[in-house]
């Protein structure tokens, strides 16, 4: 078992009312799965992604990640998990605008404590793998949306984490670029990565192996996609 969510609650206080972004979610994800978490906006799927990605902590419930109880870890230990075990791909790319492509890809390696030469070699390798070998010194502003997202994927892969967590990775892209990104994710899945995809788009979700539908903070449906 790679990931196990047990009765997870996430409650935000908004003035007097408490918003249950996650309302008792229980979910297991196995190694090498390709799971899409599907739901409309406000369903709680972003909260889900934040908790799965150790960016946020649940109000209640148990989150076991690779046999470790996440709620017992401190901030720095969570940072190490994010660094070594999870690769993030965001809807808005979240590249640092002042760094060029290869420097962006190097960032997680920097925080992993890798030496400069090792970082550079690995980052170039990753950019080559996503087909941007000829653009390693371009700033994000000099790249198209699809290319930026590919840099982000290269960055997510740099520390070779077992899990790729993609939050609406095609949300800001045109159809063609979106399709290319999905192809890359599928390839990564075939190469042995666990892919968790958060999306509101059924057609995107259907490219995964398993769809977890979420609504009002609850899992309403959990089905295998028949491809």
């Amino acid at each position: 078992m790679l990931i196990s969510l047990e009765n997870i609650y996430k409650i935000y206080k908004r003035g007097d009312t408490a918003v249950h972004a996650l309302d008792g979610v229980t979910l297991q994800i196995e190694n090498r799965e390709f799971v899409a978490i599907v739901g409309p906006s406000g369903s709680g799927k972003s909260t889900m992604m934040n908790i799965l990605g150790c960016l946020d902590t649940p109000s209640d419930g148990t989150y076991i990640f690779e046999d470790k109880d996440i709620s017992k870890l401190n901030d720095d230990q969570l940072a190490v998990i994010r660094n070594r075990h999870i690769g993030f791909v965001f809807q808005s790319f979240n590249l640092l605008p002042k760094l060029d492509a290869v420097e962006n890809v190097e960032l997680p390696l920097t925080y992993a404590g890798k030496k400069g030469s090792v970082r550079r070699e690995r980052a170039v390798e990753m950019l080559n793998a996503v087909g941007l070998g000829n653009r390693i010194h371009h700033k994000p502003s000099e790249l198209s949306g699809g290319q930026q997202q590919r840099v982000a994927i290269a960055r997510a892969l740099s520390t070779d984490p077992p899990i790729i967590l993609a939050d609406e990775p095609t949300g800001n892209l045109d159809t063609k670029s979106g399709r290319e990104i999905m192809e890359i994710l599928k390839e990564l899945h075939l190469s042995g990565k666990t892919i968790i995809l958060i999306t509101h788009d059924i057609s995107v979700a259907n490219q995964a192996e398993r769809n977890v539908h979420i609504q009002d903070g609850k899992i309403v449906n959990d089905v295998k996609v028949v491809g």
Partner: protein, 393 residues
């Protein structure tokens, strides 16, 4: 993450905002510059005053005799008894008066100082030509004169005065030496003439000594020497040491030096302190900008944290940024401070004295300011929750 990488990231942050970084640095630059300039000039002035006082003669005691009743002076013989003390290395009694000095058709009225051979070393005067009074001159009442440089020039012009004759108060004297020109804040000897004390007593018709210059054997014996002179004079004039009436006064040069040093030292410290306040203000400037920078870069911090930056990674990034700003500011400040103090010193005619300790203290203080005012913003940045920082637009 290694320090070098953190420094690179910090330098990048500074270079991305060149103007802003420079303006922030300016506070530190001005602070360090003013600390260094003010303290350098202050110390320069202090050492100059000290030098001038020391140039009057080292370990010098000046004794003024006021006397008591009809007994207002010391005889030359009595005065020379002080020389027997082991704490005293030289005694130069002085008899002073005015007289007219003539040579050829030139004449002028000058101050005549009658003294002995010790005077030259006790007062730390130098000869430019010839010799000074010898003990034999005093014993034999030789009519020899040593001229101040100005007098020599006035009377003789370009002619070498050594061996020439001058008339002082109607009597003929032979010029045997010329003093080197010396002027300090304590006056000048350029317009004085020195003759043997025994001759001066007769010439000026003044018996007895009112002023004595005494040199203590060393710095450590100054107080013993003072005590000995004091007890002897008290016995002579039969005054008790606790009486208000003073028949003599002993002026200790080292005491004067200490007082002046203390005063100028206090002044220098005060100036440095005022300048240090501007350094503190510069530090507040750093904190202000760092706080703005943290807010501006909240999203960047969020991304870095999502990618695995730990608290201390973000902390050191911002702390090093603030240290680099204050450090570069400090170095620029030192350079400008040294140049400025040199310039001002030249302008007002003293020597600026920039010591390593002042430089080190000013630089250290600027770095300290960088750390102190950088910690709060850096801590604020590093404590941001990754999810909140990522959401920040």
């Amino acid at each position: 993450m290694d320090t070098l990488q953190t420094i690179k990231i910090a330098l990048r942050g500074i270079l991305d905002n060149k103007l802003r970084s420079f303006l922030t640095m300016l506070g530190i630059i001005i602070g360090v510059t003013s600390v260094i300039a003010l303290v350098s000039i202050g110390q320069g002035a202090t050492s100059q005053v000290t030098e001038q006082i020391q140039s009057l003669g080292s370990n010098l005691l000046t004794v003024n005799i006021m006397g008591r009743g009809a007994n207002t002076t010391l005889s030359y013989k009595d005065a020379m008894e002080f020389a027997e003390s082991p704490y005293i290395s030289g005694v130069a009694p002085v008899v002073t008066g005015n007289a007219t000095v003539k040579h050829a058709n030139k004449n002028s009225s000058v101050q005549i100082q009658g003294t002995n051979a010790d005077f030259l070393t006790v007062r730390n005067y130098k000869l430019s030509q010839g010799r000074f009074i010898t003990p034999a001159d005093v014993n034999m009442r030789q009519k020899v004169a040593i001229l101040g440089s100005q007098i020599a020039e006035d009377l003789f012009g370009l002619v070498n005065p050594i061996g020439q004759e001058v008339k002082i108060g109607g009597q003929i004297f032979k010029v045997v030496g010329i003093l080197e020109s010396s002027s300090s804040m304590m006056g000048s000897n350029d317009e004085e003439i020195y003759i043997p004390i025994t001759v001066a007593e007769r010439l000026l018709q003044s018996r007895g000594v009112r002023v004595l210059y005494i040199q203590a054997a060393s710095k450590d014996t100054v107080s013993q020497a003072t005590e000995e002179i004091s007890s002897k004079l008290s016995r002579m004039f039969k005054t008790s040491s606790d009486s208000d009436f003073q028949s003599y006064r002993i002026l200790d040069q080292t005491e004067m030096l200490d007082t002046i040093n203390q005063t100028t030292g206090t002044l220098t410290m005060m100036l440095g302190g005022i300048a240090a306040i501007s350094l503190l203000v510069g530090g507040i400037g750093i904190m202000n900008i760092m706080l703005v920078s943290v807010t501006e870069r909240t999203r960047e911090i969020g991304i870095r944290k999502a990618l695995g930056a730990r608290k201390r990674d973000i902390m050191s990034q911002f702390l090093i940024e603030s240290l680099v700003i204050s450090g570069i500011g400090g170095i620029i400040g030192i350079i400008i401070g040294v140049l400025l103090s040199r310039g001002i010193a030249q302008l007002i005619g003293i020597n600026a004295k920039t010591t390593y300790s002042v430089t080190a203290i000013a630089f250290g203080f600027s770095m300290l300011v960088g750390v102190f005012f950088g910690i709060y913003p850096a801590n604020k940045a590093s404590s941001l929750k990754p999810i909140e920082a990522l959401r920040y637009e």
